[in-house]
Subunit: 129 residues, 4 copies
DNA sequence: GTGGTCTAGACCACG
DNA sequence: GTGGTCTAGACCACG
């Protein structure tokens, strides 16, 4: 999996790293139960501080995206039990609202928005296929 | 318009303020050409420093959401010329991808996602109605 | 002469007004000894405060571009005695240096810069034709 | 690099600072990828507040002249891809027009103007050498 | 150690 | 009266 970090961006490195791994999982580039590189290895590959990778892994673990086993290192979580509610978390819902607000001001209507989402969803092979 | 800031949140105050005003514009709570409170007034109402409001206004101005007129203060921009492309900016597209990735992992499919977007869009009365 | 002011710009209104009149003189739209509108008239036409026009006129007078006669109002100065030195004022030289610096960083070389100046000079019919 | 600020001038301190750094880059005093002083250090050296330096850096970053890396602070950007158009931005073009207008009124013709630009260009060693 | 954010308070240019 | 700028000082996230 190719990870590229924007060193001069406004998003913290650990957060960029976390985001890219989440997208990797969603797109199937990283499969459930797949082993992730060690903190040390990934830090070296990316040329960042081990603390940065550590923070990303800790965040992913806390969110349930990965599990960390002292013996086997980090690996992608098995798919969770299907959530019958299928609601967005408050945080995600808030972010989505902000995106839609900006899209709406730009003149994008729901149908157009849907057609913008479709190709993104098409890349996500994680669960619902 | 009611604005509430989360003082202990991770999002900077000036950015929270910017976000809420953007949503206010999109939902029609703030109408095009409507005058915004003065920097001083809003700072006092919110209990924050004038520079915090100043930074939010400067950001909104730079993004084209408001215009700042030395004579009359800040007001909501007139609707821009309709952009025939109707694409999302790279930044927005990236944020949307991340949201969809997280939704997909949670088992939300495109149809469900659309039904989650619908009520949000319904609140946005800005342009496309 | 058509004057358009950018109300939400970063350049003060009186300075924009002064700049446009200077360009008007240089391009010959305003001829030497031509009478300018009264402060009151111009302020009304532009929809700005009379103080703003007053400030612009005072600045133009101080710089020698116009003369103000209590009986006849303001008019464009007669061409000054030719300055044999033909140097730029320190302020203008500094502004020019900054423009050239930015152009150079962008990869514009002297020849290209000259070709960019040519059509601008072509519009200036004031003295040297 | 020597930076001198005019404390009583009309140009804001942060803008003077930005201008001098741009000129420093263009003249080669600051080389691509060269590290800039920290915000704190430069503020102390110049006797101004850190927020003033911060604002100058933020502006330079936004304009693409420098990159700010959370790991190593600010440094001069690498030269951008050569722009085949080589046009001036509207803002720069407008400023140049105003300078040329004032020069023309003073009796400076295109040839003389070119000879005034030449020594300024000679100092700019940034890209085109 | 770095830049980013924020406060309380002030002065100023602009209009 | 408005936004713009600036200070002195502080705390924090990031790495």
């Amino acid at each position: 999996m190719v990870i590229t970090l924007q060193l001069d961006g406004e998003v913290p490195l650990y957060e960029q790293l976390r985001n890219q791994i989440v997208i990797g999982i969603a797109t199937g580039v990283l499969e459930p139960r797949e082993k992730l590189p060690t903190v040390r290895q990934l830090a070296e590959d990316l040329g960042v501080n081990t603390m940065t990778v550590n923070k990303a892994y800790a965040l992913l673990k806390q969110e349930g995206y990965i599990v960390i086993d002292r013996r086997h290192g980090a690996k992608v979580s098995a798919p969770p039990e299907s959530d019958p509610r299928q609601e967005l978390s408050p945080k995600l819902a808030q972010e989505l609202e902000l995106i839609i607000a900006q899209a709406a001001i730009q003149g994008i209507d729901p149908a157009r928005f849907q057609s913008l989402c479709a190709p993104i969803f098409a890349k996500m092979t994680y669960r619902y296929t």
